[in-house]
Structure formats: structure tokens, C-alpha cells
């Protein structure tokens, strides 16, 4: 009952939207016919958190790709606004617990997909699609592993963000006589930061209002200190957080925190990125969604990038993917949707708009910006590691503890307390999954 009501309500919304769009271009007659036909093929409800000016057109490109192949389907866009999907995930949890799944929803791959949706039994495997569409041949094995649980695949990655970017203002570096090469070590950063500090400029733009930049900064510093193998062992529970490697990473983190802007607790990530674009801060450790801010502020020529100090040779994965729910209202449409998402055409249409790179490695390089070509090379050649900050490397509970520990750490800089919080969280995690 509720379901039919809600789907009728959203259908009306779609009709209205369609009418508004069509009013100028078409006469009402053919439009009416088209919509009547549309209802015969059923609907496809897609749940995501893509609502921002950079995200909505990219999502629309996927819808267009789907409609080109299946023009008779009506698409219901069930997007919920909110950065990194925090609000959307709350809404989705409620729907899943109430057995009202959409036809497909957006999720990061890795533990977020597995712990939150696959293990509780909310997802159908799509291993047969991987086989029939040949995705295993065109996607890196390390990436496919992130969508795999007990040798079945559960979601199709559409776009890949690189989490360990280190962005800087070229003009500001030139003015202060700092040269940045193709890679950067922690020592090189510290030398550059001292120069900037002497000139009264914060070297590192940090934003803690939405918390994740702090834990991301630590995650990148950790990767840069211990390397990808140890990094993976820490999150899988094979290595302990009080070992020498994480301790050294935390101490490096303290060093980096000496150079941050004073007002970090009041800034959101995009405001911090803006301080670098505007030349008020030197560097910003941020995933490549920051590049979207650079493009939006028309600063492509003045912003340079390297991997976060010490992380050259690694690619921190932040991957958006879509699922096939158990009990999808229109399972046939949902499978068609996933098939389209995995296609070369859809991935080439989606990613330039979203500012990410395709999960497929057989795409046309030329349609991408200089930065994204660089990212494509890194994706093809470097070690692929999951991001904890973005939910892929750990359970949601550990991720929250990782956030909380970073919030405390950026102010008290207490290495022992930090490592013991992470150790406790890992122990609690082991107990939960046991």
C-alpha cells in the first residue's frame, strides 16, 4: 500500500518534470503517448547521493545511456542530498530494514558494500554479468576484489576517485622559490612548509568541520609511511596499530599538523581547497574531487598536483558502484541498468562529468583532462589500496572510531592516546565479527 502510494507519487513527479521539460520543445500529443508507453515497460528506481552541480549531470548521463538502450522504461531518480552520502545512507538503511529497496543503489565498494549490504543479505550477486559482459578482462583484479565476497561479485564500479592527491598553488610556490617535482617526500614537504611558514602562510589547508579530511590526511600519511602492504594488513587486522610503522606515521602526522591553518575546525573541505586555489594556503591533501573545485573556480592552469608525500606508486581507491538488491521491484530493469553501467560508452559519458576515471581500463584517454590522464596512468600501474575514510577498508564502526580518533588527535596531538584508540577499535571490531 505504502509502496504503491509512494511510487504513484514519484511517477506524478516524473510526469510533471517531463511535461516541464517537454513543454517548450514538443507538442503535448506525442509526449503523452511516449509516457503512456513508458509505464508499460515498468520503472527503474535509482538511489544515490548525487545531487550537486557536478554530480547530477553525471548521473543524468547514466540515465541517458540507459534510456538510449531501453527507451520505454521510466526512471525514478531517488537521490538524497548530502556530502559523502551521510544522509543518503541513513535513508537507505531505513528503507532496507523496512524491505522497501530501490532497484539499485549507490555504494562505495569494499567493506561498505560487504559489511553494510552483502553480509546482512540485502544484495544479489551479479557474478554472471561480470562473466557475460567480460568485465573481469577490462577491470583491474584489485578493484574487482573490492566488489567480491566469497567469490561472488556484488556491485559494478562506475567511477574511480583517487584519494591521495596533494594539490598546490603554482603561483604561490613560484613566489616563495619552492620547486615541486613529480613526486614529493615528507622531507621535501617540511622544507617547503618551513619556507611558507616563514612567509606567514599556512602550508597545509585542513578542514575538520566535516571531519573526513582529518582522517584522510592521516590515512594518506600512514600509506606514505608504511607502504601499501602494511597499510592493508593494518585494516585487515593482521597488523597491530601500536607497532612501529603506525607510530612513525602518527609522529609524521604531528609534524604536518604544525603547518595547518588555525581555523581548520570551522572549515568544510571545499573551503579548505578554496584557500589553496586562492593562494591563501600552500597544499591540500584531498581526493581528486578537489579537482572539481579547481575547474569550477577556473584555476586549472595555476593548480599543480603530486601524490600525497611518500605515496607515489599507490592509488587510494574511492570507488562508486551500483548494486542489485534482493527483492528489487523491477529486477529485469535493474539488471539492464547494471549492464549499461559496465559498458564502455556509459563509463566514458559519466566520468568526465563526475571528475573521476572509469573502472574499465580500455577507455579513450583523449576525452580526459591532463589530471585525469595522470590518474589513469596511476590506476593502471600503481598498487590499488582501499580508503578507510571513505568506508572501503573497514567496518562502519571502525571508520567512525578512525574519524573520532582523528578529531581528538588534531588538537591534542597525543600519539599514545591515538594509537590506543585505534587499537581498541580494532579489538572491538574483531570481537563483533567473531
Amino acid at each position: 500500500m505504502t509502496k504503491s502510494l509512494s511510487s504513484r507519487a514519484s511517477r506524478r513527479g516524473v510526469l510533471k518534470g517531463g511535461a516541464a521539460l517537454g513543454a517548450g520543445a514538443m507538442s503535448l500529443g506525442p509526449l503523452g503517448t511516449r509516457l503512456a508507453a513508458a509505464q508499460d515497460a515498468g520503472s527503474l528506481e535509482v538511489f544515490s547521493w548525487w545531487t550537486s552541480p557536478g554530480e547530477a549531470p553525471a548521473l543524468q548521463a547514466l540515465f541517458d545511456a540507459y534510456l538510449a538502450a531501453h527507451p520505454d522504461t521510466e526512471i525514478i531518480n531517488a537521490a538524497v542530498a548530502g556530502g559523502a552520502g551521510v544522509n543518503a545512507q541513513a535513508v537507505l538503511q531505513t528503507r532496507l530494514q523496512g524491505n522497501q529497496p530501490p532497484d539499485s543503489w549507490q555504494t562505495h565498494v569494499g567493506r561498505e558494500l560487504i559489511d553494510q549490504y552483502v553480509v546482512p543479505g540485502y544484495c544479489e550477486p551479479i557474478t554472471d554479468l561480470y562473466t557475460s559482459e567480460g568485465w573481469l578482462d577490462v577491470m583491474p583484479a584489485d578493484l574487482v576484489a573490492q566488489a567480491t565476497w566469497e567469490s561472488e561479485q556484488y556491485s559494478i564500479p562506475v567511477g574511480v576517485h583517487r584519494g591521495n592527491g596533494f594539490w598546490y598553488n603554482k603561483q604561490l610556490m613560484a613566489d616563495n622559490g619552492i620547486e615541486v617535482g613529480d613526486t614529493m617526500t615528507v622531507e621535501e614537504f617540511v622544507a617547503a612548509a618551513d619556507t611558507l611558514q616563514a612567509a606567514g602562510i599556512p602550508a597545509l589547508a585542513l578542514a575538520m568541520k566535516d571531519t573526513f579530511p582529518g582522517s584522510q590526511l592521516f590515512e594518506n600519511t600512514l600509506l606514505g609511511t608504511v607502504g601499501p602492504d602494511m597499510y592493508n594488513s593494518l585494516f585487515s587486522g593482521e597488523a597491530a596499530w601500536d607497532e612501529a610503522g603506525p607510530r612513525e606515521a602518527a609522529e609524521t602526522f604531528v609534524t604536518m599538523l604544525d603547518y595547518v591553518n588555525e581555523d581548520f575546525s570551522a572549515l568544510s573541505w571545499d573551503q579548505a581547497t578554496a584557500t589553496v586555489i586562492e593562494g591563501r594556503a600552500g597544499f591540500n591533501s584531498m581526493g581528486d574531487w578537489a579537482y572539481g573545485e579547481v575547474v569550477a573556480k577556473d584555476a586549472v592552469d595555476n593548480i599543480g598536483w603530486v601524490s600525497h608525500p611518500g605515496t607515489a606508486g599507490s592509488f587510494v581507491l574511492v570507488v562508486d558502484s551500483f548494486t542489485l538488491p534482493v527483492g528489487a521491484p523491477s529486477p529485469e530493469n535493474a539488471r539492464n541498468w547494471l549492464t549499461i553501467l559496465g559498458s564502455k560508452e556509459a563509463q566514458e559519458a559519466f566520468n568526465p562529468l563526475k571528475g573521476s576515471i572509469p573502472a574499465r581500463t580500455d577507455v579513450d584517454r583523449e576525452i580526459f583532462s591532463a589530471y585525469h590522464q595522470w590518474s589513469l596512468d596511476s590506476f593502471a600501474n600503481d598498487a590499488l589500496v582501499p580508503s578507510c575514510t571513505h568506508g572501503q577498508a573497514s567496518s562502519p564502526a571502525f571508520k567512525q572510531a578512525f574519524y573520532d580518533a582523528s578529531v581528538a588527535f588534531v588538537t591534542d596531538k597525543d600519539v599514545d592516546a591515538y594509537l590506543s584508540m585505534l587499537t581498541d577499535a580494532a579489538a572491538m571490531d574483531a570481537e563483533t565479527s567473531a
Partner: protein, 347 residues
């Protein structure tokens, strides 16, 4: 009481025993009947869900899938919760926020009410102006005040404009530039004094003191709710008769004595109501803090409401979130139940 139905002819109504019994029993059935739907709804949707939340707080539910098996030993979740440094900080912050907020809102409201009560020009206009903030949503207030108390914008620009910093600079002193909501400092720490009496306190990781970033948040909340306190006090002042004031004046009381010894004591019942209402607002606060400063530097402005939200919807530790919600409920009950009991007794 007996004349419940005006439609009946008068002589029937007067015929005593039978009609009296009919009216009485009808009323006896009718009022519970009319109350039943809302009683059932309240029982299910308020008390039922409080019970459910309490049950979840004792359960093993800590993933996306509900798991309502009891966690052993029973109550272990509460032990873990109070052991968590973030939750300890949250409780400290709630106490600090409540104290600052109550003092500012009540004194502010009382001052405004007394000023308006003295019939200054345009008091009607100012009454509306002072009450307006109360009509805003906490989110609006939070966003606006976060601009005011951001160290790069707002108040600090005003401080620069006064030229204070230029004067300081000529004396070689650094500029006056408070961090406001970004200030991680915990001032007036009590750990050392307590440790002098109770040595284990030296080991506490929680800094018992005033997180300075909380003060701007309390100011914003007081700005919003002092108008409400003012309206309550104005109503109270209206009930104090002119004779009392005149009698005090005849006895030679100054204005100061009039307020201190006569009017404010007479306002005591209102003050208690204002305190109780504002305290429960303060214990439950979420939206204002969430919009204004979030968790703050090192959790300096984190509150239990934010903790509950993050535990449930981000960490998916439903049992933790539920336990923290129950702790909040107990806190509010401690304040409000004695007050309600007193009110009901006086009825």
C-alpha cells in the same frame, strides 16, 4: 454536572435519580472512550518506543541488520559507553553548555522583561523584536552565528575595525584574535584541585573544565531563547499588582530594592518554569550545535545528540546510540519529573 444535555426537556432533567444515573454513567464511559485513541497512540509511539530503545540499548545490534539478542552481561553497553572518552567529553560539554546557556538566557530575558515593563517608548515594538529570534529554526541561528564566530570573518573583523590591534601592535603585542568556535582550549581545569583531594583524578583523561569553544554556542542559544524567557517574565510581571509596587514605594524602597526584594522573589514560580523548560532544551540540543560548530576542535562542542546520530547512522552501532539516547532521557527526566509532579499536585 447533571445537566449534560440541553436538548432534553427541563422537567426530565429535574426528575432526579434516573437521569442523574444515566448522565453519570454516560460520562464515565464517554471520557475514557474519547481519550482512548490518543492514549493508545501515546502508549505505543512514546512509551512503547522508549521501551524499545531501552531494549535495543541492551542488545547486540551493531550492524546494518537488526540483532535483538541480549548482550551479556546485561548492561555491558552502558559500561562501554561511559568508558568512551568521547561520551565523557559529551557529558562534560552538556553540563558546561547548560550552565552558560541558562545564566545568559535567564538573566538576559529578565533584564529585557524589566526594561520593557517600565513602559519605555516603543516597548511594543521592542517586545516583538526581542521575541523574533525565538521564531527562527536552530539551523538558521547556527549557520548565521557560525559566520559571526568564525575567526576569519564576523566578530574578529569588528575587533580589527576598532583599531585595538593597531594599538597592540605599536606596543609589540600580538593581535587580539580569539579563536571562538575553533578554540580547542579547555579552561579552568579542575583536575589538579580534585587530584589534591582525590589522587586518582590525576589519571583521568577527561579534562574537567570549560571548553572555550562552547561559550559562543551558548551565546547563540541564549540569543535565540532569551526572548522566550522575556515573554514568560513579562507575563509574570503583569500579574504583580500595582498596590505591591506602591506599598514598596511608600515604604521608601529604591528601584533596586523594589526589584531585588519584592518583584524578583514574586517571580520565583516563573523563574522555576523558565529554568526547567530551558534546561530540557539544553540537554537535548542537537541542531544548533550541528549547524554552528559540529563536533568542534577535539570534540570541544560535541553533545550527546550528535553522538547518538553518528553512532546509529554512521557507525551503525545501534545499541550504543540507543544507550546514549536513554542516558539523555534520564537526564531530562531528572529535571522535569519533579517539576511535573509539583505542578500536578498544585492542580
Amino acid at each position: 454536572m447533571a445537566i449534560s444535555s440541553p436538548a432534553l426537556p427541563r422537567d426530565v432533567v429535574v426528575a432526579p435519580p434516573t437521569s442523574r444515573r444515566v448522565g453519570f454513567s454516560l460520562e464515565r464511559i464517554l471520557s475514557p472512550l474519547l481519550l482512548a485513541p490518543s492514549a493508545v497512540a501515546i502508549f505505543i509511539f512514546v512509551y512503547g518506543f522508549i521501551g524499545y530503545t531501552f531494549y535495543v540499548s541492551l542488545s547486540n545490534w551493531r550492524s546494518a541488520k537488526p540483532d535483538l539478542s541480549l548482550r551479556h552481561p546485561v548492561g555491558a553497553v552502558y559500561g562501554d559507553l561511559f568508558g568512551q572518552s568521547r561520551f565523557q567529553i559529551d557529558l562534560r560539554n552538556t553540563v558546561v553548555f547548560t550552565l552558560f546557556f541558562l545564566v545568559m538566557a535567564v538573566l538576559g530575558g529578565l533584564a529585557l522583561a524589566i526594561l520593557l515593563d517600565r513602559h519605555i517608548v516603543g516597548s511594543g515594538f521592542f517586545r516583538s523584536v526581542f521575541l523574533f529570534p525565538y521564531a527562527l529554526s536552530f539551523i538558521t541561528t547556527g549557520v548565521a552565528w557560525s559566520w559571526i564566530f568564525n575567526p576569519e570573518t564576523g566578530v574578529n573583523l569588528l575587533i580589527n575595525a576598532t583599531g585595538v590591534n593597531d594599538v597592540l601592535a605599536t606596543y609589540g603585542v600580538g593581535p587580539l584574535k580569539p579563536g571562538w568556535i575553533t578554540n580547542p582550549e579547555v579552561a579552568w581545569q579542575l583536575n589538579q584541585p580534585i587530584a589534591a583531594i582525590y589522587p586518582p583524578a590525576a589519571e583521568w583523561s577527561l579534562k574537567l573544565g570549560v571548553p572555550l569553544a562552547m561559550i559562543p554556542v551558548a551565546i547563540a542559544a541564549a540569543w535565540q531563547l532569551s526572548g522566550f524567557a522575556m515573554a514568560m517574565f513579562l507575563a509574570g510581571l503583569g500579574t504583580i499588582s500595582q498596590e505591591v509596587r506602591e506599598a514598596a514605594a511608600l515604604d521608601g524602597a529604591s528601584d533596586w530594592r523594589l526589584y531585588k526584594d519584592v518583584i524578583i522573589p514574586l517571580l520565583n514560580p516563573i523563574t522555576v518554569s523558565v529554568l526547567i523548560i530551558l534546561t530540557h532544551v539544553s540537554l537535548k540540543i542537537f541542531d544548533l550545535v550541528f549547524a554552528m560548530s559540529g563536533k568542534g576542535p577535539g570534540f570541544a562542542t560535541d553533545v550527546p545528540g550528535i553522538f547518538v546520530y553518528e553512532m546509529i547512522f554512521r557507525a551503525q552501532r545501534y545499541n550504543y546510540g540507543a544507550a546514549a539516547a536513554i542516558v539523555m532521557l534520564v537526564g531530562v527526566s531528572i529535571v522535569i519529573v519533579p517539576y511535573l509532579a509539583r505542578q500536578l499536585k498544585t492542580l
